[in-house]
């Protein structure tokens, strides 16, 4: 820990010479920010948190491991700015982390207000809001260490599956590919800090100015349907938005609804343009990072993978076969033995039939959850992008169905 008695001029000069940058999405010179607040003298509160937009929450690792360092960093900044109130915001439901931070504050004999949820930027208009990772960097600098690393995690997305790597420290100047083996994946797109890149970005050196956002680098595999990815991103942000800014609240609702239509085969072509308009406007029409950054990746997907949208909307085809609305499901009448296992497994009761009769899926109602596929002993349930062949349209005994 840095010496409590260090005078603020000394602290300021140490921070200045280290030339730290803010972590998270708001990449800016921390020194410049600090001086700006020092000159205005308006801030009465310092708030440390992860970015509001951050739903990955990987960077909470900083607090799990280094709560004391974060608090010491905050104390230093508070001293420099003559601030008395210190607040740490944690996502909802992190009771364990609340305890950790409370204990750290107690050990340091420091009063910290712990709030949950996303930082209310309206309540704290004048406050000095900073990233928890930045605070450890400040602490490191004051302790005479270097602040030249960022925490990184890789998330690989294949179709519906995701895989998270371990969390590693990346030294500035090195590339992501220097510390992670990304060669095995066939990458369609890379997302860093709510922007989409091609895979060459992984070889480029990361500097302190690089916007790393949540620190999670997402690799989208070739098998991903980017429309579907975008739909999931919209929904996640729709749920995450606090709802106070019109563009964030209504924007994500529109993005979610329109994407919902497209992946359920009901898309309209004008949606692409309208969603781009909304997504781009959100970037400068919201008060915090949820609205300003949360739709950037969706806009990038709309721009870079417009062809996938057109496939879904015009050709009624999901090229990667991910969006189930574009597939057909049926029970092969030649394979079905009428065992009723699929009937019992179906969560929405849309399979018709009885013991000894060929079962039939009512495809208007079917959600394609594939539970029937899992239980069928004959592998008789078929899901395909091709047209459904001729199948029975009324109860037919096993073995009695003849194709015409």
């Amino acid at each position: 820990m840095f010496t409590e008695n260090m005078d603020t001029e000394k602290m300021l000069s140490l921070i200045e010479s280290a030339d730290i940058y803010e972590y998270g999405v708001f990449k800016e010179s921390f020194t410049a920010k600090l001086n700006e607040y020092k000159n205005s003298g308006k801030a009465k509160t310092i708030i440390a948190a992860i970015d509001n937009v951050d739903t990955d929450e990987m960077l909470l690792e900083v607090l799990y491991k280094n709560s004391k360092e974060v608090i010491c960093g905050m104390k230093a900044v508070a001293n420099i700015l003559s601030i008395s109130e210190m607040v740490i915001y944690l996502p909802e439901g992190k009771d364990d982390l609340v305890k950790i931070v409370e204990n750290a504050a107690k050990e340091l004999n420091t009063e910290i207000l712990i709030k949950t949820g996303i930082v209310d930027v309206r309540e704290y208009r004048e406050a000095f809001i900073t990233h928890v990772e930045t605070m450890t960097a400040v602490n490191d600098v004051l302790e005479g260490k270097k602040a030249d690393k960022a925490l990184i995690q890789i998330k690989e997305v294949f179709g519906d599956d995701t895989k998270l790597s371990e969390i590693k420290e990346l030294e500035y100047g090195k590339a992501i590919s220097d510390i992670f083996d990304t060669s095995k994946v066939s990458i369609k797109a890379v997302e860093i800090g709510y922007k989409l890149y091609d895979k060459s970005i992984l070889q480029q050196p990361v500097t302190k100015e690089t916007v790393l956002g949540t620190g999670v680098i997402t690799l989208y595999d070739k098998s991903c349907c980017m429309v579907h990815i975008s739909k999931d991103l919209s929904l996640k942000m729709r749920e995450h938005s606090c709802g106070k800014c019109t563009f964030c609240r209504e924007g994500f609702i529109q993005l979610d609804m329109r994407h919902g239509e497209i992946v359920s085969k009901k898309g309209e072509l004008d949606s692409i343009g309208i969603m781009k308009d909304i997504g781009k406007a959100m970037n400068f029409s919201c008060e915090c990072s949820v609205g300003t950054y949360g739709a950037n990746d969706i806009v990038d997907i709309l721009d870079k993978f417009e062809n996938e949208y057109i496939s879904h909307i015009k050709k009624k085809d999901c090229p990667e076969g991910v969006c189930k609305a574009f597939t057909n499901i049926y029970i092969d009448p030649d394979k079905c033995i009428g065992c009723t296992k699929c009937i019992k497994a179906c969560p929405i009761d849309c399979i018709e039939g009885k013991e000894g009769y060929i079962h039939m899926i009512e495809d208007m109602d079917c959600t394609k959850c594939e539970e029937c596929i899992k239980v069928c002993p004959q592998n008789a349930v078929v899901i395909t992008k091709k047209r459904t062949p001729s199948i029975p349209n009324r109860l037919t005994r096993v073995g009695r169905f003849k194709q015409y």
């Binding site: 309206r122 709802g243 106070k244 800014c245 019109t246």
Partner: protein, 705 residues
């Protein structure tokens, strides 16, 4: 101040307020929705976007602070496009049909849509599916109409500091709710109405405003003041009372009423009947607060302060020293006129003294309030009955007839002239003067108003063994105050509502009264009573005394020289208060029949103003006595506010009070007056909230899309 240019127009604006506010105060309209002059900025709706110094970037003008020389554009292709997008997004979750909304025609959002020339239909609309919430008193919520501008939250949190409303989210829909999703009352809401006031849509609605679309807003928002015949600033004096400044409180009342203590005892308090607090539990105890502050005032602010115009040399004679006459006398004196009051009886006060028994109104209270008026220079001549008012014109420039209604009505009823039949006015006057009343032991009072109860309760105090009271009206529509009826019954008086008076029995002396039950009682179009009796419902009460308390008339005859109107009133134009004789005015009960003291005060004030005009004055009798109140915006949170119970006065038990004419109601105690004052909703503060600025009020409107 700095100079900025908006759309080519140079204006000077304060550096402390945002560009939007600067533009609006300088007559330049920029569309806006979440911005409200009295609230901190939200920056959420993005309707007020502008560009600065030729930049292509847009920024909301509510968050832009002006700098010297700034050049601002409020319109451009990009701005228009984004503004439309903002409006479209705002409306995506808002019902399309305005016509079913209770705020239709009064909706800020609706005018904004009109300004924008309508909204496009390119957003996916959705119905939020909230249930309308009408369970709260005074305020109703329909979150389907909410566009989440957040004004109500800021009004509740920042302006009023009540902290009841907040943003909530459920099933991916944001809405405004109470902190714990409980009813407003259970969250400590102060029901100040600020949320409903600032709501630009039909989401948070004032139930009374919706129910009274044709009334003036001020009257609906502040019904106590509207109901009071002299429009006393009730919430203001209650605030002074709460702060312990009883002089300030009394000064507020004294701005309108020269009899605050008397009225503190006996006012019919129509204010309390319309008090919005009764929707939460019970109305405010306004009369008792008035009494308390007035009895505890040292006279600071009002005794020496106030208006006194220089002498005009004009002479006014007022006939009758009741509340109407004395009120008119005081204000005419303050306008500089030489005022003489001629009173037929031996003391001033009119019905205050000769009608209302002293157990309800101690006489020293009247003495003191009359003295204040004579101290201001009003000449009072008692024992001076005016027979020929017209002759007064020889000595005076104007005359006011405020003779009241001192002659009781003897109903045309068999036996009405038997020995033992008394008349309310004579009876009460004799009681007041301590004279013989000729009352026996068993008394029946006929009538159901406050005067009838004054007679009955006086009879109890004079030692009558049994007192009954009967009236035509059913219990619910009896005109007497509820507390009068309740207290009378406590004192052993039997009350028989809905009875016809068939006849007074006896030969020579009264032996009783015959009654029948009333099935229905109404008035026809000629205001004649239509009574249906219940067959075979005859009832008889034995008694030796009957007191008629069935109305009062003015004691005046055509020989006085004035035209007599309905029910022996002085025929008077209600607008001008002029009688048939030029220069002679009339006011109070004598023109409209028996009403109340506060009505008489109102009539007296009106007469003073009109006579002042008649005598060449401006008729402005208003005066400012109370000290300036600091501007109040915050009222704070009070747990359990809605359940704070009405503080009741200390009252002697029936046994202690019924054998004497001593004061029995001691009003609120010292420890209760502040608590009772705290219960006030302070409805008036809402009227200080700035009105919305609508585009059609701006001369610079150019946009007609």
């Amino acid at each position: 101040m700095v100079e900025i240019t908006i759309d080519g127009k140079k204006i000077n604006v304060s550096e402390d307020q945002c560009v939007l506010e600067g533009a609006l105060t300088n007559g330049i309209y920029i569309p806006h929705l979440c911005h409200h002059k009295d609230l901190p900025e939200n920056g959420s709706c993005r309707m007020c976007i502008v560009s600065v110094d030729g930049s292509n970037e847009v920024t909301p003008s509510c968050k832009l602070m002006p700098k010297e020389g700034m050049v601002i554009n409020t319109k451009s292709e990009k701005i228009d496009k984004l503004r439309f997008l903002a409006l479209d997004l705002l409306l995506a979750g808002h019902p399309e049909d305005c016509s079913t909304c209770p705020k239709y025609g009064n909706c800020e959002l609706q005018t904004l849509i009109q300004y924008m020339g309508g909204a496009s239909n390119r957003m996916r609309r959705r119905s939020k599916g909230f249930k309308e919430n009408k369970e709260n008193p005074l305020i109703e919520h329909d979150m389907n109409r909410c566009v989440l501008c957040g004004r109500c939250v800021r009004a509740c949190k920042n302006l009023r500091e009540v902290n009841v409303l907040d943003y909530k989210k459920e099933d991916m829909e944001t809405y405004i709710g109470t902190l714990h999703d409980k009813l407003l009352k259970d969250e400590g809401c102060r029901f100040c109405g600020a949320c409903a006031e600032v709501c630009p849509t039909g989401t948070i609605r004032d139930k009374l405003m919706i129910a009274n679309p044709d009334k003036k807003k001020e009257d609906v928002v502040l019904p106590c003041k509207a109901a009071c015949p002299v429009h006393t600033d009730i919430p203001k004096y209650i605030r002074f009372a709460k702060a312990g400044d009883f002089d300030g409180a009394t000064a507020v009342i004294r701005e309108k009423i020269p009899f605050p203590t008397s009225l503190g005892y006996i006012c019919t308090h129509v204010c309390e009947l319309s008090c919005k607090r009764k929707e939460l539990n019970d109305s405010m105890s306004i009369r008792n607060i008035k009494r308390y502050v007035s009895e505890h005032s040292t006279g600071k602010y009002w005794k020496e302060g106030g208006k006194q115009l220089p002498d005009t040399g004009k002479k006014v004679c007022i006939v009758g020293a009741g509340p109407a006459g004395m009120t008119a006398a005081l204000y005419l004196r303050k306008q500089g006129h030489d005022v003489t009051v001629k009173e037929a009886l031996s003391n001033a006060g009119g019905m205050l003294r000769y009608g209302i028994p002293k157990y309800r109104l101690p006489r020293e209270v009247i003495d003191e309030e009359v003295k204040f008026i004579t101290d201001k220079g009003v000449k009072l001549e008692t024992g001076s009955k005016v027979e020929k008012p017209i002759e007064l014109k020889n000595d005076y420039d104007a005359v006011l007839m405020a003779i009241g209604t001192h002659k009781g009505v003897r109903l045309p009823l068999e036996g009405n002239d038997l020995k033992g039949v008394l008349i309310n006015t004579d009876f009460l006057r004799n009681v007041s003067e301590g004279k013989e009343t000729n009352m026996g032991e068993r008394v029946v009072v006929l009538g159901g108003g406050n005067v009838a109860f004054d007679c009955a309760r006086s009879a109890v105090r004079l030692g009558a063994k049994k007192v009954s009271l009967a009236c035509l009206e059913a219990r619910e529509v009896m005109t007497a105050d509820d507390e009068e009826i309740k207290e009378a019954q406590e004192e052993g008086i039997e009350v028989f509502p809905a009875k016809t008076f068939e006849k007074i029995t006896g030969e020579g002396n009264v032996t009783g009264v015959d009654f029948m039950n009333v099935l229905s009682f109404e008035f026809d179009e000629n205001r004649r009573a239509i009574i249906t009796k219940e067959p075979n419902s005859e009832m008889h009460i034995d008694c030796d005394t009957v007191i008629f308390a069935t109305g009062q008339r003015s004691d005046i005859s055509p020989e006085a020289g004035l035209k007599i109107g309905r029910a022996n009133s002085i025929d008077t134009d209600f607008e001008t208060l002029k009688t048939s004789e030029d220069g002679i005015f009339a006011a109070g009960d004598t023109i409209y029949g028996t009403k109340s003291v506060i009505e008489a005060v109102a009539s007296g004030r009106k007469a003073a103003s009109l006579i002042d005009i008649y005598l060449g004055g401006d008729g402005d009798i208003t005066e400012k006595l109370a000290p300036e109140e600091p501007e109040i915006t915050s009222i704070g949170h009070i747990d359990g506010f809605g359940d704070l119970e009405r503080k009741e006065p200390k009252i002697k038990s029936a046994n202690e009070r019924k054998d004497n004419f001593d004061k029995f109601d001691f009003g609120l105690c010292d420890s209760d007056v502040c608590g009772e004052s705290t219960r006030c909703l302070q409805c008036d503060l809402r009227l200080n909230i700035s009105s919305p600025r609508l585009w059609d009020e701006y001369s610079t409107k150019e946009v007609e899309v």
